[in-house]
Symmetry: C2
Subunit: 449 residues, 2 copies
């Protein structure tokens, strides 16, 4: 049943904006100052009819005309043809978006937390009422990534999506890599520069990236995933030692959001995971520096694709919001009498991290005596984990045994592809060995394959 | 007036394919073998009803079922809801596409030569009859670039588009850079590997890239440009000496297709140009290797974006074609009663290359005696061209005069931003100097700015 708010082509499309923070103020500025341009791009006049805020007196990046400001968000939602939600968080954003969709109004939002927890429900409400719901700005800031996945790649089968989707953590890891800074110092620097919030937990714990992994996975695999389906490790445990050891072997450490289809075995599905990852420095994602974002997509026919750009900030994010506004407004001109399709692929449940397969990097302190390497190699072999390379810091690649000495030594192993389950059991047994003093780090490795 | 062929949601959307070469055979395979998947993605059944070819007996990459093959292209165009044109070239492709659009059938094509010469007319015919016309595969193979420019960036102002859009020339230049090969040897290697045609003229002369520059410019600037508006220099004059000299200064030479808005001065417009370009090795486009393609886009709010992937080949290109097919078929389900908008921005004519401003690299053989550098510097200054750096191969950056000697010497200058007109006059005067024996190369330089 179609309830969509229908504008005839000569009528003005009215727009209500919820929230006027960093991104909201920029969107308001564009809608007011560039009204003529945006109307021409849409093909029919558009008009910002109100900006709902909590406190009309708050200072803002751009001074919104007083007559547009209102504290009555619900009243605005009940009037506008198109609602832009930039409040963030779950409530009241969720209730307001639902209210708009139920009356058939179009909604544009960048609210990743909401989409990762209630996106499937909101999509279903939109499909039911024939309303349009778009959220390009929720992943990768200015980077067009959701539309290319949904539309340009709709005739292909995506097998993997892998992205640097959090600028804060990428800035911190990049600083640690390029300046040798410790984690805490790099984070403090990021806060000073405005790349990290005063409370950086959601970023450094990987929660922001996990929300984006759920959104990317849902669109890439035509199957509904939520935040809870994503395995998540942040970057708080990554040390300068890890960064240096990775660099010595030609790797860089990045926090990646990965959604990957697994079809081997009886139960196909998708593993969604966020964790610090070793990438060869030659990988296209390895050179994504500072607060930039990039998403790498692998599809059966298209092969490898990468989308790169600014992942945050008022102006870049407003570009993605405005792209959705124009695209949605163009479609409002021409009412569609039927519900849009949500194509769903069956038999693609989220899989536990145990089903993931990747390469691993293990860094250990060991006793520096004969037979150590042999013993470690035996444990890996027992668990069907084969070794790609083994290295002692400061020495060349170890081919045989380490020399006798009183001091402890370090051993770093990069495995071939193994399952999380086998790897976990391997590490557990390694920890129990007399010759292994401690296992410092276990990190996943992604290579081009 | 809307004549668009309207399918009700329960009806099958019929597809006619024109051409069954490299890409066409892969598209036919996907439409037949993945019919169920594609139908689910569209939301209504699709069916390939015919493949028009010149010779049904020709061997193909995929054996098309005999009952689908026909030599009657016009009959197929007159029956199908959606026509995929993969014949290439101007005729009969142009007449067949026009015939399809005039009866309101949707058209998907990857025909860059046709679009660069008649794209504006075809867009106008589609707008008139309400037919859908999509051509993502015409630029960048599998890379989603046209849809992001048209839709995702529709709420922003693009200021520059700059792409590596020809795999053959990128492979040749990359081989020259990484292996030290001469131009002819690198081209022969590309031909052996199937990256270059037996007659590589269209690629190495930059004509293929120029067609893509016209298409990119038209969409990025909402203004109609054609092949004739593009200034075009190929890579045939690029020598191993140029590559080495560029490398010594931290640059790599790439053939770029550039469309750039110029707003300074009384007459704003767009300069479209294809030429070998020096890029700093740190530029995101510099690391695009082999036959890969990438397009770099700068927009006022979004900032810098890059789109990267495989630019050619049957499977990658078929991915872009199929993405358009699914997107168009989804819209055929829901008939749109009005003509789609072609938004056009006024006052953006194509500008002559004279209006372009960029940095330049000039490589000269000079007499090795006192006063040479001063004389060269004076000529540049007279034409308002300022010097960013000056270098003698094998020596450090020259700050003063070169030493006296009997032998000739080389001087390489990188200028600050200057206009093509000033640069041309400068080079003319340099050629006339007694102390300048020859000007070996004049190449344009793009940096991040």
């Amino acid at each position: 049943m179609a309830l969509r708010s229908q504008s005839k082509s000569s009528e003005t499309i009215t727009i209500g904006l919820l929230g006027a923070g960093n991104v909201g103020a920029q969107v308001a500025k564009t809608l007011v100052e560039e009204r003529e341009l945006i109307s021409a791009r849409v093909g029919t006049p558009i008009k910002l009819i109100g900006v709902a805020v909590r406190d009309p007196e708050s200072p803002r990046d751009w001074r919104i005309p007083g007559e547009l400001l209102t504290t009555d968000a619900e009243g605005l939602v009940d009037t506008a043809d198109l609602v832009i939600e930039l409040i963030g968080g779950i409530e009241p954003a969720s209730a307001l978006i639902e209210r708009a969709l139920r009356r058939g109004a179009a909604v544009v939002t960048g609210n990743k937390a909401l989409l990762a927890s209630r996106g499937t429900e909101l999509d279903a409400i939109a499909a039911e009422t024939g309303a349009l719901l778009r959220y390009e700005a929720s992943v990768g800031g200015a980077i067009p990534i959701l539309r290319p996945i949904e539309e340009s790649l709709s005739g292909d089968r995506i097998t993997k999506v892998m992205g640097i989707v959090n600028g804060t953590t990428n800035y911190v890891l990049d600083q640690m890599d390029t300046t040798g800074a410790a984690f805490d110092d790099a984070l403090e620097e990021a806060q000073k520069l405005g790349y990290a919030e005063a409370d950086p937990t959601a970023d450094v714990a990987g929660l922001d990236a996990a929300a984006k992994a759920a959104i990317l996975g849902t669109l890439a695999f035509h199957a509904p995933f939520s935040f809870e389906d994503v395995y998540c490790e942040g970057i708080t445990e990554v040390t300068q030692d890890d960064i240096e050891a990775a660099a010595a072997s030609g790797y860089v450490i990045k926090l990646l959001a990965i959604a990957e289809k697994h079809t081997a075995g009886q139960a196909p599905g998708v593993v969604l995971r966020v964790h610090p990852t070793l990438l060869p420095r030659t990988h296209p994602l390895a050179s994504v520096r500072g607060a930039f974002n990039a998403v790498f997509v692998v599809a059966e026919n298209a092969g490898e694709l990468m989308f790169y750009g600014q992942g945050a900030g008022g102006r870049p994010t407003s570009s993605a919001i405005m792209g959705d506004v124009v695209a949605v407004a163009r479609r409002l001109r021409a009412p569609v009498p039927e519900a849009p399709t949500i194509s769903r692929e069956v038999n693609l449940p989220p899989l536990l991290i145990d089903k993931a397969t990747t390469q691993y990097y293990i860094d250990m302190e060991v006793a520096d005596r004969e037979g150590v390497i042999a013993e470690i190699a035996r444990v890996l072999a027992d668990h069907h984990v084969s070794i790609e390379s083994m290295r002692q810091p400061g020495s060349v690649t170890v081919e045989g045994e380490v020399e006798d000495s009183d001091n402890g030594a370090k051993v770093q192993v990069v495995t071939h592809i193994a399952s999380e389950k086998d790897l976990r059991e391997t590490v557990e047994e390694l920890r129990g060995l007399d010759v292994v003093k401690t296992v410092n780090s276990v990190l996943r490795v992604e290579v081009n394959r």
